[in-house]
């Protein structure tokens, strides 16, 4: 592994692939964060898929396979698709998911049709266009990395300059309008920047997998923080980590494709974040729920013991009767209360300790402010009889 990492600096191909993937991770992470918060993650998927016909058309029109020309074609098509989606949403009654789904499949279908047409033509130069479907990171050259850095740099610079405006746009667009911000223009700008991210991703992960690079880093980052600034930095970091590790893993063996491994890496990061992030992680959620249940169970036990202690005698038998449980179970419950220091042995059997007594009083006070539920003393039942 160390050998591989050091190869990043010496091996020309690996260095380009790792740099390209990392750049994709950073810009996808940053713009994906805004896309996610504006609930437009799927729009990213649409404009990634829509890039395919653009790439094909760019090739047909220019006959060139220069990456920048193809990327520009793809970006333009994706951009048009996103504008089309927004126009459809504004002017028709089509629900958002339908509009997105239809636009995605029709652009992608058109792209596949064009691709097949090109491949069956007698153009000897056509080989390799299909690499944009799933990406082929191994073909990334130093010149491509330079393109990525320029495209990504533009996007990051604009986000840096308009961070405050984009934040307000994502949180409360209505209020942004009331402050006089050109909300529609800002939204289009943010979508256009996402197109730049897609262009960076076309060679690496391809049009089909690109959406994951926009969604997963942001979703993972959201798990770890409640601050937008931190979330964006984390999202970029996660994206870059996935890019580099995807490149490294695919270089460690023959026949491992980079793009899908980058996606698998970011999925792994997302999975870990969903489970283990403090506060929002599922594991902590389960632990908290369990802890709460146990606490409530013990508190109810204590209250039952408190009633018996005051009005009857506290023995395993009386507790079992009151709680409608077996004597053995009641014995175990009393043991639990004793280990908490709430119950102790006295001359006439069991008794609440001062600490237990005080705790029970506190609980009763707290219960008083709760709204009364059904199934309390019979008197309430009669009283609440509907007239």
């Amino acid at each position: 592994m160390f050998e591989l990492v050091s190869q990043i600096f010496t091996d020309y191909t690996l260095r380009n692939v790792a740099l390209g993937s990392a750049m994709l991770g950073v810009i996808g992470g940053v713009l994906g964060a805004f896309a996610m918060l504006r609930r437009q993650s799927l729009l990213g998927d649409v404009l990634a898929h829509a890039a395919l016909p653009g790439i094909c058309l760019a090739f047909i029109l220019t006959g060139s396979k220069a990456p920048l020309i193809l990327l520009l074609g793809g970006g333009l098509a994706g951009w048009l698709a996103s504008l089309l989606v927004l126009a459809v949403l504004r002017n028709t009654r089509l629900p958002e998911d339908s509009a997105l789904g239809v636009m995605l499949s029709s652009f992608f279908g058109f792209g596949i049709a064009l691709l097949t047409f090109i491949q069956h033509g007698n153009n000897a130069n056509q080989a390799g266009l299909d690499k944009f479907i799933f990406g082929q990171a191994a073909t990334i050259l130093a010149s491509d990395v330079l393109n990525f850095i320029v495209l990504g740099g533009i996007a990051l610079l604009v986000v840096g300059l308009l961070y405050k405006e984009f934040k307000l746009l994502s949180f409360d667009p209505g209020y942004a309008v009331s402050l006089g911000l050109p909300v529609r223009g800002l939204g289009t700008l943010l979508t256009s920047l996402t197109v730049l991210a897609v262009m960076v991703g076309l060679q690496t992960v391809g049009v089909v997998l690109m959406a994951a690079m926009l969604i997963a880093p942001a979703a993972a980052a959201r798990q770890w923080t409640d601050r937008l600034g931190t979330m964006i930095w984390l999202s970029a970091l996660f994206g870059a980590m996935a890019g580099v590790s995807g490149a490294l893993i695919s270089a460690s063996r023959e026949n491992l494709p980079t793009g899908p491994l980058v996606i698998l890496s970011i999925s792994a990061i997302l999975l870990v974040s969903l489970f283990f992030a403090p506060l929002r992680g599922l594991v902590w959620d389960w632990a908290r729920t369990r802890q709460n249940r146990r606490r409530i169970h013990l508190e109810r036990l204590l209250l039952d013991a408190h009633v018996l202690h005051n009005h009857d005698v506290l023995t395993p038998q009386t507790l079992a009767e009151r709680r409608r449980e077996s004597v053995a179970m009641a014995q175990r419950h009393l043991e639990a209360l004793r280990s908490l220091g709430w119950v102790q042995q006295s001359q006439k059997g069991l008794a609440l300790t001062p600490a237990g007594d005080q705790k029970a009083h506190e609980l009763e006070q707290a219960m008083r402010v709760l709204p009364r539920a059904k199934g309390e003393p019979p008197a309430t039942f009669l009283g609440s009889n509907p007239s």
């Binding site: 405006e165 934040k167 949180f171 209505g174 209020y175 402050l179 959201r222 923080t225 937008l228």
Partner: protein, 255 residues
Amino acid sequence: MIHTQSNPKALLSQSLAPLEVRDLTVAYREKPVLWDVDLQVPVGQLCAIVGPNGAGKSTLIKAVLGLIPKASGQVKFFGQTLVEARSRIGYVPQRGSVDWDFPTSVLDVVVMGLYGKLGWFRRPGKLERDAALRCLEQVSMSEFAGRQISQLSGGQQQRVFLARALAQDSDLYFMDEPFAGVDAVTEDAILRVLHELKEHGKTVVVVHHDLETVRAYFDHLTLLNVQVIASGPMDETFTPENLKRTYGERMIMVS
């Protein structure tokens, strides 16, 4: 409908009214939501807009502020257009209109009220955070400044939105249902702020839903049901006939 006399004095005050709406019509597709609304709001008063569900109360505020397109009509603020008067107008949207799980803190949200003054590209600094803190103090929320907004109760969310509007330091405020579903503490805080604003000569237009409190809370009343049914000083406008015309015959009167 209230017709203004055309003596010169009234005309002068008319041109400087904080809000003057003429012939405003708003339609979603075929159905008009607001029809030919004329409205004039007096300076330095607390003004309520009241009407049944679907009467177009929120739509009126949103159309006036340019959040949704108008089918026709003119709106003037202090005799100026919306663009000219923008910096003098503050807005408190319905709190249900945003995602409260957004990754940001209470103070950050209040600082957003200063984005208009900051202008393009400039980031808020200590000056803005201090100003926002003072606004949080006004709504008794300063101890929540660092909280993530998802941890707030409904009433606290409402107070944060109010503080954000206070940060704008406007002359005219629009508030969309600020009293809807809030606790007693928040209700008191909002009332206190409303009276402070009035003391400082500000004008406040509030969409309100509660007929029981409207008389006690506000000076000026507009009854709305697609059209303006009546608009004027509370005592003259809050009459059984007007309410019946707004809510329909079957309304149960509250004393």
